[in-house]
Amino acid sequence: MTDQYTVLVVDDEKVLRDGCTLVLQPEGYRVLTAANGQEALDQLAAEPVNVVLCDLKMPVMGALEVLEQTSVRYPGIPVIIMTGLGTVADAVECMKKGAYDFVTKPFSIDHLCLVVKRALEKQLLEQQTRQLQEEQARNLYNLAMEQSRMHTIVNCMADGVLVTNQDGEVVLCNSTLMQLLGVKAPPPHPGPMQAYVGDRDFQVAIESLLTGGNRSEARFIAQELCQNRIHLRALSAPFSGPDNQVLGTVTVFHDVTHFKELDEMKNDFVRMVSHELRSPLAAIKQQHAVILDGLAGDLTGKQRELLTRAHAKIQGLLDLINDLLDVTKMEAGYGQLEQAPLDLRETLGEVVELLRERASSQKVTLKLEAPDGLPLIRADRRSMDEVFSNLVSNAINYSPDGGEVRIAAVSRGDYLEVVVQDQGIGIEAEEIAKIFDKFYRVKSPKTRQVIGTGLGLALVKGLIEAHRGSVDVESEVGKGTAFRVKLPTVGAAKGVDAGK
């Protein structure tokens, strides 16, 4: 039996030892006996004991001495003193020394059993209490470990981490970020954002995440910012409590300075090569033109045909180089973009006018729908020119004879939406994801005739995103394609400012 309790009976009188044994064994206890204190201590050392019943006065070693030893060596084992009536005072002395209880001889069987049982219960309770205390201590230790581990992890991260509370104040900024941002001493917690990140756009982004804004939009904001000549890519996301209320934001900053430098070098290289290629090509094209104009003598029909085709190829190369230069210009930074309030209706009108001739030569009609009173957008005029020239001339190129290209601008509250819709050959679903990639061109027998560089749409997307807009595309093969451009209005930008 595993939960059988062991009682050690210590008495110099054999009658009493035997009596106790007779009483306790039927109750399910294992009973050990000892004739004096010394024997008792030997027994205790030899095997586990739950309760000790100990006579007060014994030869060799009495109860007082036993108690002195057990209270030190076996504090968990309750000791019950057996005493005659005349020595109750001594028994009380024993209690002071740490005995659990005492019984006066002669005692009844019931009384003895009750006292032993209570002693065991007390022992059990003490054990449980001890276990609970140990567990609690362990938990507290783990918690402290977990906190310091989190702290260590966050601080050792190679990326910067910044956490704000509901009011947009900084409550955590790891040491990597302090270094990246050039923050010397930690400002008080929670500290104002201004003391950490000076970038206005970043502050606006955090505010918009905190105020919730448009819930259907992706719930994180990616940005690039530059502080102390260090370029950082910042990914910010809100975190919410159980009731979906936004409690703060977490932003991870990644140092992309090195990439920026490489990118700059790449752009410089592309720029240099493009310029070097363009001049001789321009000269070759001009020489072709002079020959084709008959200024260098008469041409046979075949010569003219071949030269005309070469001429078109050269033009294609020149277009490619020009697009490359535009892309590098675009990637070199949008800081140079001059963003002024712009009436997009005028720009669209100019683009349509410029392309109308080309459209009609390809038997395509252009239809512009731009109502009066469209809100102004904050944009770079030349960029918008480029965006819509690209989209409309694409639409013309891929339209069938007699097709119509519809350009429609609509106000949608915070942003202006422009749809460029054609009735052309459409784009296969698997191509759609790739059409904004640089140098990507849809290859099919139907598009072979269309000359292009594969940079136009990359440019469109880059420029629109630089204006905090978005462009997406819907297309049905054989039916047509619609490009949907969304650009924030001047009012929307002001709204964010006013929220501060």
Binding site: K285, L295, N322, S389
Partner: protein, 126 residues
Amino acid sequence: MSGKYILIVDDDPDLVETVSMMLESKGFEVGKAYDGIEGEEAIKKRRPDVLILDVMMPRKNGYQLCKELKSNKWTQEIPVILLTAVGEAVPTTSYSHADGMSVEAEDFIPKPVDAATLVEAVQRLL
């Protein structure tokens, strides 16, 4: 157009040759120079009725020469057409136009030069 003297200044001899063929075919008399300094000397020797000026040139670039001519009362009346490669990617030329105007050139033609455009621009300035 006989008797009208057009000076073309460009560091690329191929360009100079083709541009002069375009103009000579229309009966213009054409002078040639191959950088800004040579251009300056050619103007001193014979005053052109129209000056066609490349922008990127060694020794003295087109913008510089144009500015100097326009700030000198003896030469400021000479009409200048600037040839440049800037800004031909888009159908509008407003961007490049603005750059040309800031040095007070009378007109601007993107490279490569289209014969009809060139002749029209020259005739308009005579």
